[in-house]
């Protein structure tokens, strides 16, 4: 029941996402074709582009035909590169997916132990210090952190490469080495956010009755924490970390630019500067769809974590 409802709810969201993405080209002030080509373009080129973008047809017809193409996996042809946008994105996606996973792993490695420790030692100096550091972590601009890392690890000490991305299957070692700094630069902020969330969620669960029951059984603090508190506290954290994916994809735009990783985010930046609006449009659509599906996945994961969801009852019973 919950699963079905959740699946149905994605339909209006996807519909609205498609409308917003479609309107993107039409938000360009004036005539999009003129803006894209510039004033010097020949009338023939101008007419050809108008036709390619479908700008000569009524707007509703344009939308329907655009959605039709998108459903068939056609995001249009890049204006500058003259190759299908889908191919461009498919080329760039693996690096971004790898970065996303690496960043999350790094963030979890930091956030889980510190979050648990801060909650177990709440209102002690450990708690205050880690909470303060977390706020600091949330405040560091990731691109500046990236630069500082490059200066220290690459320019001054030559410990780690700051560029030279190669696909994983081509040279795993080189690939992983090149991923370390980017993952740390993006992941620090995410780990701070996760840690704060985990801490407050743990503190909420710690006061619940069943935790007292666990202690009354004779369980020690660690077993109570890991066996009873943590899993309950992770439920809201998992949901929110799904929402974090959107922020993360945005952050990667910058990280990829600094570390010259040929990823999805860098494609967007490049296309923005090349005024390749068709590629930008395709890329933002893909990013939104990615976010929608990750969140769908996370919500469905709920059913696995929380037995109450299977029965279709809310988490409140």
């Amino acid at each position: 029941m919950f699963v079905l409802k959740r699946l149905l709810l994605t339909i209006p969201i996807l519909f609205l996402v498609s409308i917003m993405t479609f309107s993107f080209i039409h938000m360009i002030p004036g005539d999009p074709a003129r803006v894209i080509l510039g004033q010097e373009a020949t009338p023939e080129a101008y007419q050809a582009l108008r036709q390619e973008l479908g700008l000569d047809k009524p707007i509703a017809w344009q939308y329907v035909s655009w959605v039709g193409k998108v459903l068939h996996g056609d995001l249009g042809i890049s204006i500058t590169d003259r190759v299908p946008v889908v191919d461009l994105i498919a080329q760039r996606l693996p690096a971004t997916v790898e970065l996303t996973i690496g960043t999350f792993v790094f963030a979890l490695l930091i956030a889980l132990p510190t979050g648990i420790l801060a909650a177990m030692r709440r209102n002690t100096w450990i708690d205050y210090t880690s909470s303060f550091i977390a706020l600091g972590g949330m405040s560091i601009p990731s691109f500046w952190l990236a630069m500082m890392a490059i200066i220290y690890f690459t320019v001054e000490n030559h410990w780690l490469p700051s560029s030279g991305y190669v696909p994983f299957f081509q040279d795993p070692k080189q690939n992983l080495l090149a991923m370390i700094l980017p993952c740390i630069a993006t992941g620090l902020r995410e780990s701070a956010v996760l840690m704060r969330m985990l801490r407050s969620s743990l503190l909420e669960v710690v006061n619940m009755d069943f935790v007292r029951t666990a202690k009354a059984k004779g369980l020690n603090e660690v077993r109570t924490m890991l066996g009873h508190v943590l899993r309950n506290a992770l439920i809201p954290v998992v949901t929110t970390s799904g929402l974090m994916v959107a922020g993360l994809l945005g952050g990667l735009v910058i990280t990829e630019s600094i570390f010259s990783i040929p990823g999805f985010g860098r494609l967007i930046v490049e296309s923005v500067f090349k005024r390749d609006y068709v590629t930008v449009q395709g890329a933002i659509l893909v990013s939104a769809i990615l976010v929608v599906f990750v969140n769908l996945l996370v919500d469905l994961l709920y059913v696995l974590i929380d037995p109450r969801m299977k029965a279709g009852k809310g988490a409140d019973s």
Partner: protein
């Protein structure tokens, strides 16, 4: 011990407030504080490391980095105020009305639009908007403001939902007070706390977002000094003049930390659950 801990919790917020006050002060008196014209180029003094004359050094055009950092504070403070201002002007009224009237529009139009908007990664949305509108500070602000608006709709709406059935609201309704008056006189003032917290935290993100866009070259355009664009220019010189990257980034970090500390402090103060 108790009071020390209490101070640590709320005292951090105070430090945040002091940082913001310092930022305002620097921005207001930039002309007096900065020793040089931030845009004055001096080809005799290119890429000088920090020294007695230029305490933060000079950049590749011989401009004084300290003066540029000082003037950059003006951009940051404008970015915080304008982006969050735009977001609040759009978000708060929508949140108020949809939360108060509920129904079809709330459930199936506004909230779904919000869902869809939040599906776009914030920075990518801002990037795309400034791509179509053209780069520049104003467009960047508009892009960031629109990107923030959904979170203000959500927080305001959430507050209204919990307040709309309060006894004093029902009492006001029962004596025939008009909806508008109830919304603005009875509900809004009580919903303000969480909105202000959200605004403070959004200012932190707003400064980061402006710096990010400027860093990418889409926000503030040269020669205006902004911390983000300074980092953009310093990046290619990282191996010869690393110091040029230190101070603008440090400035962003401290100011964003200030807003985060203040927002966090306010939250501790206003949320009875965390106040113990």
């Amino acid at each position: 011990m108790k009071s020390l801990k209490k101070f640590l919790r709320t005292g951090l917020g105070l430090i945040g407030a002091l940082i913001i006050l310092a930022l305002i002060f620097v921005a207001l008196f930039a002309n007096q504080i900065a020793p040089y014209d931030p845009n004055a180029q001096n080809y005799d003094q290119i890429l000088m490391p920090p020294n007695a004359e230029h305490i933060f050094g000079t950049d590749d055009l011989g401009r004084d980095i300290f003066s540029r950092v000082v003037f950059g504070s003006q951009v940051s403070i404008k970015a915080a105020l304008i982006s969050v201002g735009i977001a609040m002007i759009i978000g708060v009224p929508i949140g108020l009305f949809t939360g108060y009237y509920r129904g079809f529009w709330d459930e199936w139009v506004v909230m779904r639009i919000i869902d869809a908007m939040q599906a776009f990664p914030f920075l990518i949305l801002a990037l795309a908007i400034s791509a179509v509108l053209g780069s520049g500070f104003g467009n960047a602000m508009l892009a960031i403001g629109i990107g923030f608006a959904p979170s203000f709709v959500r927080i305001t709406r959430g507050q209204v939902l919990s307040l709309r059935n309060m006894e004093y609201v029902n009492a006001a309704k029962s004596v025939g007070v008009k909806d508008m008056r109830i919304i603005f006189r009875h509900i809004l003032p009580n919903a303000l706390g969480p909105i202000i917290i959200q605004a403070t935290l959004a200012m932190a993100t707003g400064i980061l977002a402006e710096a990010s866009l400027s860093y990418l070259g889409l926000g503030v355009q040269p020669p205006t000094a902004s911390w983000g664009s300074m980092l953009n220019q310093a990046q290619s010189l990282m191996s010869v003049a690393p110091y040029a990257t230190y101070y603008p980034g440090l400035a962003i970090f401290i100011v964003v930390l200030g807003f985060n500390l203040l927002g966090d402090g306010l939250q501790q103060f206003l949320d009875p659950r965390t106040r113990k």
